[in-house]
């Protein structure tokens, strides 16, 4: 049995809006194993992004326990969370969020400059099939290419976990598949634990496990013994 890297127990996140409390996560329990590829599905507002943000140290929970290995993510200070993100986490978002004034290579350098044992930026970009686009600015790249730069930026520091919030949300099927195979490739070759949020149930086929969220909880988990290849996925 592989090791558990993420675990949470009775995790709660409540937002206070005026006098109303919105519970985004309600007593969520979760275990994620080393090297797993997880897809999270669920209706809008079910708490997917909230969960991912807490796992990635972007946000902190209201109560309960959440840990990455021996890092307590609930009680960590801002400095500890920054260090955690810097050393262990790679993020990919729906809207790429590249720095517009830096080229593809430089966007990746931004991370390798502060990481401990990074890849060379070119290596990461070549891995994502961007060898011809190293010195292009984000405005000179297509959406799919920008997203691949974002992934290259996320993996260049050899993170332990890769957290992706709707990485194909803004892309068409073919481009999306390209991005997914990049994620799959990273997961397989580096053993990077990967969590992908999506609204696209078809993507679940390429995961080790699919978690269905509803009302701030994991409602159901589906395990696959066999992972589909990204190229086989259509939507």
């Amino acid at each position: 049995m592989p090791q558990i890297v993420f675990s949470s127990r009775n995790l709660n996140k409540t937002y206070r809006v005026g006098s109303v409390e919105v519970a985004a996560l309600q007593g969520l329990d979760l275990d994620i194993y080393q090297g797993e590829f997880i897809v999270i599905l669920g209706p809008s507002g079910s708490g997917k992004s909230t969960l991912l943000n807490i796992l990635g140290g972007l946000d902190s929970a209201t109560s309960g326990a959440a840990a990455w290995r021996d890092h307590n993510l609930v009680e960590a200070s801002d400095e500890e969370l920054t260090r955690y993100r810097r050393e262990h986490v790679g993020f990919v978002f729906q809207f790429y969020n590249l720095i517009p004034s830096l080229t593809a290579r430089e966007n990746v350098e931004l991370v390798t400059d502060i990481a401990e044992q990074p890849m060379r930026p070119e290596e990461a970009l070549v891995k994502l099939g961007l060898s011809e686009r190293l010195d292009h600015f984000p405005s000179q790249l297509s959406g799919g290419e920008q997203q691949r730069v974002a992934i290259a930026r996320a993996i260049a520091k050899r993170p332990d976990v890769l957290l992706c919030d709707e990485p194909t949300g803004a892309l068409d099927c073919r481009t999306g598949v390209g991005v997914l195979s990049a994620l799959d490739e990273v997961n397989r070759s580096f053993g990077t634990t990967t969590v992908v949020i999506t609204h696209n149930a078809a993507i679940g086929a390429m995961a080790d496990r699919v978690m269905y969220m509803a009302d701030g909880r994991i409602a159901r988990i589906e395990s696959h013994s066999e992972r589909a290849l990204p190229e086989e996925i259509r939507w």
Partner: protein, 783 residues
């Protein structure tokens, strides 16, 4: 409430810090504008009212002695509506407990009791009882400076006889709003006063029964003044008349006009600059604020909103502009009152009534609204021009040039962000730079006045007029009097001067001033050229103050007509030998020997410049008082103090106000520029934090660009300030003064520190925001 209006309120609250600082910048601009303008208008109105109510004379003449029947003939000159013959004598005054030499002008009517022209306004006590020759009125300024009031006694040396008087009242006269002693360039209320006594006193002391030696007159509106003056000269010629003159040569009026002109220039130049700069900043800041909402504007457009969007942002701008203007006008009115109140000791009018011209707040509001709404609406327009689909995407980053990229290759990523951010957003960078650049000149514009006054004192009083005291005689005396002065107690060095009133003529231009004859190798009075080198008067020809030579349109070598206005009234023509750099006054200079020859005199002396042993100064003053042939003693120390107290004090008051406001504006400008820069980059900064950058590292990237901008803006601002000050001073030259564009290094230092300091404070405020930035919200919201 409509949804859009709710957005308005929330945006207002979210941007409160910015809204307040922008409003303050605007309020500062408006306040300076309103206060300077209203204080100036109040002065002018008060002057006009006072001149009218007190019936200030239109023409003035003095003479040796004429029978009263001559006054009747003067009254018959066409255009003259009323005349008032008087007895006027400059005398030495004794005030209990005052060791400084004091001189005074004694005035009495030659006929009648109460003046009908140049009426007196009684401030305290009462008017004269003409049956009592021991009663005297003193000017309020002199009374205050010497702490005198009704009941106190003073004495005067009248024609060699000391006479004692009891003060019964203190008065103001339109003739002596500023009272300047004979041949002194500046008023000194402690050492020169004007006194009014009954006719009997002067008529008796100077044997002038049935006669007069001074006359003032009022002319009909639109009368031909030059004709009246030449008729006067003609009539008075055989009575020893000195050239008659109109208000333009009346000392108090001339000084007052100069002061008012200076106030007027100050009100007409600096405050509009403040107002325009703050309106411009408003324009820029509003534009950028709106631009940060481009996606919202696009979304609204996509929803079918159109005109409402413009209207919405116009309201948003008005929400900031109107309170700013309101605050500015209110502060301006209060400040205007304060300024007017502090003018009281300088401008001695019976009443200084506050007067705010209606157009001033209207103009200020219009300019501010124009700036604010213009900026906001312009930005909305430029977003609205885009197709919604285009605008919904974040603004397309500019196309970065490949060459620039290669050049930057070895540079660390954070400097790349800074350099590209600055270099490739020329508009954004330009606007930030401009905002930062204007801050320094504003500060310099307020600070440099002190430097200028220090410079004047240094040049005029330390390098040029170096005598501790100048003794003037009742009439020109033979040269041996110099020896007498040298033997007076405390005198270390005594050097003779020959001073004579003259009229200079050059073509149809003429100017009345005094001609000073300087001896060879004089130490106590030196003339300086533009580079502050000593100029020695040549054996032939005349030296003039540069401004006087310009005024008479004279070039070196041109002949100058010279009419002496005393003694035998000689006339001569001499070449202009050169110009000198007098900062105060317009004067003429000659070699004393050459002047002697022109006047056909032998070594005559009208004044002696002395260097004193400071510890024995009081003995010296006492000795001068006992010497009847000495009419006045002027003291350098007092001159400096007078200069600082008169021009200096008024100018510095204004300058202080300007500095305070320029600091507000500088801080507002810098803060807003940085704040908007932060807003424009908030998504980028949040992204850096997500990537694992510490707040400190993210701040370094953000502030690198700011650092470059501030580093470029400060030196540029100082250079701009230098030129602005020069430009400003062109407008400031008056007849009596020239303000040199001497900005001390210390002022540059302060201006730079202030802008730098404002940047640091803003950086700290914004840094705190950066520290507290909520990543999830920033990534989601793209605010």
């Amino acid at each position: 409430m409509k949804a859009l209006d709710r957005k308005l309120l929330r945006d207002g609250r979210r941007l409160a810090g910015q809204a307040v600082t922008i409003a303050l910048v605007l309020a500062s601009g408006v306040a300076v504008f309103i206060s300077s303008l209203s204080a100036y208008r109040s002065l002018v109105t008060s002057q006009q009212n006072y001149y009218r109510e007190s019936r200030f004379a239109d023409a003035f003449a003095s003479l040796k002695r004429a029978p009263l029947s001559v006054a009747a003939r003067i009254a018959d000159i066409p255009g003259v509506t009323q005349v008032e013959p008087r007895l006027v004598y400059d005398v030495t005054i004794g005030v209990e407990g005052v060791s400084l030499p004091v001189s005074g002008r004694m005035i009495a009517l030659a006929a009648g009791d109460e003046p009908e022209i140049d009426r007196l306004h009684i401030v305290s006590g009462r008017g004269l009882d003409h049956a009592n020759p021991a009663e005297i009125l003193v000017t309020q300024a002199f009374a205050e400076a010497n702490r005198l009031g009704p009941g106190d006694r003073i004495s005067a040396l009248l024609n060699g006889r000391r006479q004692s008087f009891r003060i019964v009242g203190t008065v103001l006269s339109p003739e002596y709003v500023f009272s300047t002693g004979p041949s002194e360039p500046l008023p000194d209320d402690k050492r020169f006063g004007v006194f009014y006594v009954s006719r009997e006193v002067l008529a008796h002391a100077f044997a002038m029964e049935g006669a007069f030696n001074d006359i003032v007159l009022i002319a009909a509106p639109g009368a031909n003044m030059p004709a009246i003056l030449s008729a006067l000269d003609l009539l008075l010629d055989r009575w020893g008349g000195r050239v008659a003159h109109d208000r333009n040569l009346q000392m108090s009026h001339r000084f007052l006009q100069d002061e008012l002109r200076q106030q007027g220039t100050m009100a007409a130049t600096i405050p509009p600059i403040f107002l325009l700069i703050s309106a411009f900043l408003l324009h820029v800041v509003m534009g950028r604020l709106v631009a940060t909402q481009r996606e919202q504007i696009a979304a609204l457009k996509a929803l079918g909103y159109d005109r409402e969007i413009t209207w919405h942002f116009a309201k948003f701008a008005a929400l900031i502009v109107l309170p700013g203007v309101g605050l500015g006008v209110a502060a301006g009115v209060v400040l205007g009152h304060v300024m007017l109140f502090s003018y009281r000791p300088f401008f001695r009018f019976p009443e200084l009534a506050y007067h705010l011209p209606v157009w001033a707040p209207v103009a200020a509001t219009a300019i501010a609204l124009f700036g604010g709404l213009g900026g906001a609406i312009g930005a909305v327009r430029s977003v609205a021009r885009l197709r919604p689909a285009e605008a919904l995407k974040p603004a397309a980053p500019p196309a970065y040039s490949a060459r620039f990229s290669r050049a930057l290759a070895p540079v660390p990523a954070r400097w790349k962000i800074a350099a590209r951010g600055a270099g490739e957003h020329p508009l954004r960078t330009g606007v930030t730079l401009l905002g930062l650049i204007v801050a320094a000149p504003l500060v310099l514009m307020g600070l440099f006045w002190t430097d200028a006054l220090d410079y004047v004192v240094d040049v005029q009083f330390a390098a040029s007029e170096r005598a501790d005291a100048v003794v003037q005689f009742v009439e020109p005396l033979p040269a041996r009097v110099v020896e007498e002065v040298r033997r007076m107690p405390g005198v270390l060095l005594a050097e003779p001067l020959r001073i004579a009133p003259v009229r200079l003529r050059a073509g149809h231009l003429e100017y009345q001033t005094s001609l000073t004859g300087l001896s060879d190798r004089m130490q106590l009075r030196r003339l300086l050229d533009d580079r502050l080198h000593v100029v020695v008067p040549p054996k032939v020809g005349l030296l003039l103050s540069r401004r006087l030579a310009e005024r008479l349109r004279l070039q070196v070598g041109d002949p100058v007509g010279l009419d002496f206005l005393e003694g035998r009234q000689k006339r001569a023509a001499v070449p202009l030998a050169g110009v000198v750099n007098d900062l105060i006054g317009l004067s003429a200079y000659m070699d004393r020997g050459a002047m002697d020859r022109l006047l056909q005199e032998d070594q005559t002396v009208s004044a002696v410049a002395v260097r004193l042993d400071a510890s024995r100064a009081d003995d010296f003053y006492a000795a001068t008082k006992k010497t009847p042939k000495i009419s006045t003693v002027s003291l350098r120390e007092r001159s400096i103090r007078n200069f600082r107290d008169s021009t200096g004090a008024v100018v510095l008051l204004l300058a202080g106000i300007y500095v305070a406001f320029s600091i507000t504006i500088a801080i507002g400008v810098v803060y807003n520029n940085l704040r908007i820069g932060f807003q424009e980059r908030s998504l980028e900064l949040a992204m850096l934090r997500v990537l694992g950058f510490t707040p400190y590292e993210a701040a370094r990237i953000f502030f690198s660009e700011i650092l470059v901008e501030v580093g470029v803006a400060i030196p540029l601002g100082l250079v701009a300030g230098y030129f602005l000050v020069r430009l400003l001073l062109l407008a400031f030259q008056t007849e009596m003064f020239e303000i040199p564009p001497a900005i001390a290094p210390r002022s540059y230092f302060w201006a730079a520190s202030l802008v730098g300091g404002a940047a640091v404070v803003s950086a700290i405020l914004i840094g705190r925001k950066l520290w507290r930035q909520d990543l999830v919200t920033a990534l989601k919201g793209r605010e």
